[in-house]
């Protein structure tokens, strides 16, 4: 299917390193400077992503998943966002020190992103084919009719029926699932090496959710993309992700292979999440198995940020920040990770 793309696609200037590592986020910090004060949304997040790998990022609402993704993408509004320290390396080059123009040109061909609400994320006043074709026109200098042809091809690829007829229709004329397929078509248009999907199925019906996840998995397999999958849906993650990172109050508190995460959680928060799976997507609602709400990011508790809600919290949790450390095959930021893992 990709004969046109591969032949017309310029060879990328960016090459992953020997073991296929595409992306490396290193001790990233993000703050929001608002009238209410400084919200420390991301407080030292590190992870990496390899070719053909799917990394799931999990966590409650407000834990910083989207901010992390948008920082990688370079689409945070600064101000109010500030990145005081950290590095985001793509194929060895630090994106944060790169000139903005160079970075902009990478969005689409190298790193791409899809969002939760496809209806509001697509421009209501332009045809969908025009919006998909814009990728080719702007990044490849393609003319309008060729770009439309590419749009039709992509819409067919993401299984939109009657793509030729519908390419000139507007977003509001499609169903929710179809709109998300259009977002996906737009994101994979230029064969990116990294695709970030920020809750791609949250706004959809259950049956449609499964179809979209299957489509993402299929495309990832086919193109050997590195996929970052941000989701609330722990059930879906189990089938498609290779590894998972769990975020809490702007930190990664646990990292594990997907099977370990489910079978042997090494952090009290992960365990709580697993126990409250059905309710996880209800924003603002207390997690059944955990209770309480995430902290206000302008006043993150001292010590382990999770301590006010943790059933295992001891004095040390209220004073010392637990580092993310190896625990068996996994990583966990808990003073009592071993006990959790084994108990």
């Amino acid at each position: 299917m990709t004969t046109t793309t591969t032949s017309s696609a310029p060879v990328s200037d960016y090459k992953p390193d020997a073991d296929g590592r595409l992306l490396e986020v290193d001790d990233l910090h993000v703050e929001f400077h608002t009238q209410e004060g400084v919200a420390k949304a991301i407080n030292g997040v590190s992870f990496d992503l390899h070719q053909g790998e799917t990394l799931a990022i999990l966590g409650e609402s407000g834990s910083g998943k989207s901010v992390t993704a948008q920082a990688v993408m370079g689409i945070l509004d600064m101000p109010p966002a500030v990145i005081p320290s950290g590095a985001i390396r793509y194929c060895g080059q630090d994106l944060l020190t790169m000139p903005e123009e160079q970075r902009r040109k990478m969005r689409g061909p190298e790193i791409s992103m899809i969002f939760q609400d496809a209806l509001s994320s697509l421009n209501p006043t332009f045809p969908v084919g025009w919006q998909i074709g814009e990728m080719f026109r702007q990044h490849r200098g393609m003319n309008k009719s060729d770009a439309y042809a590419q749009a039709v091809r992509l819409m067919e690829r993401v299984a939109i029926p009657a793509a030729k007829e519908r390419v000139k229709q507007y977003p509001h004329q499609f169903s929710g699932g179809m709109r998300q397929r259009i977002m996906i078509a737009m994101a994979i248009a230029l064969d990116p090496a990294v695709l970030i999907a920020d809750e791609p199925t949250t706004a959809l019906d259950v049956t449609v959710q499964a179809q979209i996840m299957a489509l993402l998995a299929e495309l990832q397999e086919e193109r050997q993309m590195g996929l970052i999958l941000i989701t609330h849906d722990l059930g879906v993650v189990a089938d498609v992700a290779d590894r998972a990172a769990v975020m809490y109050a702007g930190r990664i508190v646990a990292k594990a292979g997907i099977d370990d995460l489910y079978a042997r959680p090494a952090h009290p928060y992960t365990r709580g999440l697993l126990e409250s799976i059905p309710r996880l997507d209800q924003k603002g609602q207390t997690l059944a198995a955990i209770g309480g709400l995430p902290p206000n990011l302008t006043r993150i508790p001292a010590g382990c940020a999770f301590n006010p809600r943790c059933r295992m919290a001891q004095d040390v949790c209220r004073t010392d920040v637990p580092a993310l450390r190896d625990v068996g095959q996994q990583k966990s930021a808990c003073h009592f990770a071993e006990e959790v893992l084994n108990g």
């Binding site: 969005r107 061909p109 006043t125």
Partner: protein, 309 residues
């Protein structure tokens, strides 16, 4: 689409009838004797007055007069003014002046208003934003006739850049620049405010985030993706405001002594020339309603979510 237009045109009929009747009734009530001054220094002879009143149906009850007037109007006969000149001839000339004045005012609204609004919206909270906010509030709170007389004094009299008055019936377009600016000034301010508000709101929208994620330049994200959405309400405003523009033309034409529709209405009122006033205003109302229909159609083109079926 065709059906929609037909339905709208049909809906317009009762509105035109009602509006013209109200205007007719008010003009009917105009006090004073229209024959005063028609016969030199002396009062007119009883005979003349009787003939005059008969000719202009002034002895019939209001509704009958209105009916007779309407009967002629739909046949394209706008009547003759009290000097015996067909109103249609007068109007043709005067509408070209006021038409140019209004179009230029709208051009000022569109160009200056949108430009100022975009600059302010894109640089929200910066100097230019504050400048636009303050100066638009300034313009909105000062009555147009004060602005008009003031600018007339500065540009027309003190510096002599533009003519201070434009009394000619075939005034060149360039002489209408200053009056058109004055006429449009209030709307320029409103357009700027509206553009800014919409732009700021749309700049925060999800699809602008998408545009950034697509690797588009900032100019394209703002210029192509945000502007179109932001301008849809502005177009509606300019259309709805057209009526205010026509009303404002009376004031502006008075200040600059322009022989347009506004001046004509004003003179008609003062000389108790009912037919002239009613016909002029009726045409004005019809133009206004048609402009509104046009704007609604344009709205459907700009915003694909609206369908006129």
């Amino acid at each position: 689409m065709g059906k929609y237009i037909v339905r709208r045109l049909l809906q317009m009929i009762p509105v035109i009838l009602g509006a013209t009747f109200i205007i007719f009734a008010m003009v009917f009530a105009l006090p004073g004797d229209p024959t005063v001054g028609k016969c030199g220094e002396r009062p007119c002879s009883a005979e003349y007055v009787a003939k005059f009143r008969e000719e202009h149906n002034l002895n019939d009850p209001l509704v009958v007069q209105y009916g007779k007037y309407l009967g002629k109007f739909v046949q394209g006969d706008l009547g003759t003014n009290y000097y015996g000149i067909p109103v249609k001839e007068d109007l043709a000339q005067r509408y070209t002046i006021t038409g140019r004045l209004a179009l230029m005012a709208i051009a000022f609204e569109a160009v200056i208003g949108i430009l100022a609004g975009v600059l302010a919206g894109v640089r929200k909270g910066r100097f230019i934003d504050n400048l636009v906010t303050v100066s638009t509030l300034f313009v909105i709170s000062i009555p147009v006739f004060v602005i008009g007389v003031f600018l007339q004094y500065l540009f027309g009299i003190k510096w002599g850049i533009f003519p201070a008055t434009v009394p000619s019936l075939d005034a060149p377009t360039s002489s209408l620049i200053l009056p058109a600016f004055v006429l449009g000034s209030l709307s320029i301010a409103y357009v700027a405010r509206l553009t800014r508000t919409n732009l700021v709101e749309n700049l925060r929208s999800d699809y602008v985030r998408t545009a950034k994620a697509k690797g588009l330049t900032k100019n394209r994200a703002v210029g192509v993706h945000t502007l179109r959405n932001s301008l849809i309400p502005v177009v509606t405003f300019i259309g709805a405001d057209f009526g205010g523009l026509l009303g404002g033309a009376i004031v502006t034409e008075r200040i600059f002594n322009i022989q347009g529709v506004g001046g004509y209405i004003w003179r008609g009122i003062n000389s108790r020339d009912g037919v002239a006033v009613v016909s002029t205003v009726t045409v004005l109302v019809i133009v206004y309603l048609l402009v509104n229909l046009l704007v609604d159609l344009l709205y459907g083109v700009l915003d694909p979510r609206i369908s006129h079926d």
